[in-house]
Symmetry: none
Subunit: 211 residues, 4 copies
């Protein structure tokens, strides 16, 4: 207890150039693994290789950190999708296929795919966040999907369906897999094969079940 007086010198090491993005990445991973409530700020700090206090230099509260995680994870994704729709030159069917393959597959193995699950699970705690997320993300995603279907109808590729609700059906199927990916996939004796899922979904949506 008193034998290392000389070690008193050991002073706190100082880390320069803390990158908030590292904190966000660490927080996302932990929020997904253990949920928001069960993740301690200290865990985030350790995982990010940063001191507890340093987090508060960038995020005033745990809630602010959560919101940053959500923003950082989904805004780029939806922007990518919007850009692709705006620039895509091929048929509506090819566009839908490209989007689904590109997005679902691209994010399948990155933590970003779990943001949706995160918001669903923990948005209670943050009065405004659910509304904000819904408007900024969910509705934008729906708009993208609606635009694609409309394009297909306009071009004569697709039947004249209930565009709004068809968009909900397709997005629902996709989102649900992303959610399950982070909640119960570990227990599935046959974990989802994402490419196969996208292919089957496309086939079903395009051709239907009936002969």
């Amino acid at each position: 207890m008193s034998s290392h007086l000389s070690a008193q010198v050991a002073r706190r090491s100082r880390r320069r150039d803390i990158d908030p993005a590292e904190v966000i990445a660490a927080a996302l991973e932990l929020f997904l693994q253990r949920g928001f409530a069960a993740t301690r700020m200290e865990d985030v700090a350790r995982a990010a290789g940063v001191s507890k206090g340093a987090i508060y230099l960038y995020f005033p509260t745990k809630e602010a950190l959560f919101r940053a995680v959500v923003q950082a994870g989904v805004v780029p994704r939806i922007e990518e999708a919007e850009a692709e729709v705006a620039n895509f030159a091929g048929s509506a069917r090819e566009l839908l296929s490209s989007l689904m393959h590109g997005l679902l597959l691209e994010f399948w193995d990155t933590p970003s795919s779990g943001i949706h699950k995160l918001v669903i699970a923990d948005a209670h705690h943050f009065p405004g966040l659910a509304a904000e997320y819904f408007h900024d993300i969910s509705l934008r995603a729906r708009d993208v999907m609606v635009a694609i279907i409309r394009r297909g109808i306009a071009s004569g590729e697709f039947r004249d369906v209930d565009v709004e609700y068809v968009a909900r059906v397709i997005l629902g199927a996709l989102d649900q897999q992303a959610v399950l990916r982070h909640s119960m996939q570990a227990h599935d004796p046959e974990p989802l094969q994402p490419e196969r899922f996208v292919d089957v979904t496309l086939d079903l949506i395009m051709n239907g079940l009936l002969k």
Copy 2:
């Protein structure tokens, strides 16, 4: 410890014949509104019109209460579905339509529809529960859906599709709406109309998008 012998407690009001089902109902409602972690046992007690201690007479821990909520909410639902599939005499298409209308609509406005969301959001906390739920509920639901599709293929109604994955697509779309119902529907400028959703889903699944 130190007992305050001088001050005698005010007369406690006594409730007879506490029904554990009332506690479960109250707990479900609160878990859905605020999440598992954010729901205090005292809140559940107050909502059920029962004392805090009384809850522990029936559920040894908060986790046990959670599990009871889950069991009570979903087991009857899945059993109903299995029974309907076993007894249904009509075509596969009619069976699917009946199931989707019956179950989704029946439960849409009851708290039971939120159990799925609850498990997805909070299963972290309970090592065994997610696995248990997945095996007892999710896989059973998938089996039901697979059986219906198989029946349709056998009867010549349906194309010869990838049964397992088509089941995942359909269930995903449905489940996702139930999940959203309890997480973000309040923020949707056009809240889902369940009947319309089922109709569109059936139409899409049966006929596909293509002309």
Copy 3:
């Protein structure tokens, strides 16, 4: 849930002739095993084969039960000792020997030997009890011991010692063994042999260590 309405008949069984002494005996055993604080009234009730409520018919509080346990366990013991001293006809040495053999050995294997330990361990909780016990029991025991030594000095058997403190020494050695009996004897590789202990104590006290 509703299938056994006929079983409503199951009525509480009624036990007649509850003997408070059984409750006291059960309480003593449990207080010794687990301490006062760690013993639940329900445990006492079950051990005594009585309902929780019934205990309160005889003992208004847990503290009252504790006091009854102490009274029941030691008052007879000290009265026995006083009577023996009053009636004993032999030498002081024989009286001391008789008392020590009689009391220590008689109570060694009964729970009564643990009352002293109980009071020492838990008297905090009960402001008046320690004082009461000390006056009613400890000082009476000391008086008995003092009387014996005085008798020996008067008869010329014993040296003219500091009577009060010699009594404390002798009682201390005895009491300590009773206390250890109920706290740590289980861990002693050589548990105390009570007869040997009494014999050695008598020999030491009578003859001393020196040659």
Copy 4:
């Protein structure tokens, strides 16, 4: 007695360099006064002038604090005794006298004298602690006493007595006074005078009662 009430400073500011030893000291005092179960961690914190949370920085549980209290209080004491026996050059009688005076008197007015009482009273709660304490402390103390008596016999000073049991008698008398010191001495109309007690004990043990 204990007069730390004067230190009731309402600390609003931060305290630096908390010394766990202060927490241990405060805990010992309170455990002795009120028993383990009746002492709230908050009491310990207040008595130590520390926040409740700070205690958990050094002691993971209340039990760990208890064990630290025991270790800190008795290990140095027994080591002192062993060292004195090893180094003492005089007669066995002088050694015994020195030890008894030195230890009993030295610790009489420090809280350390109550550790023994503490373990006896509350060891129930901690499965391993009683055994550990008994082996590490009680048996070591017995060995010390046995060594002294053996030395006296070897040198011809003492009679050839039952060494093991004589050690138990002597230690019992001493320990009991330390125990009483912390349980009932307040109620004794003639509180023990420790020097007188040691002198009388030595005289009795050396010379016996008989003429």
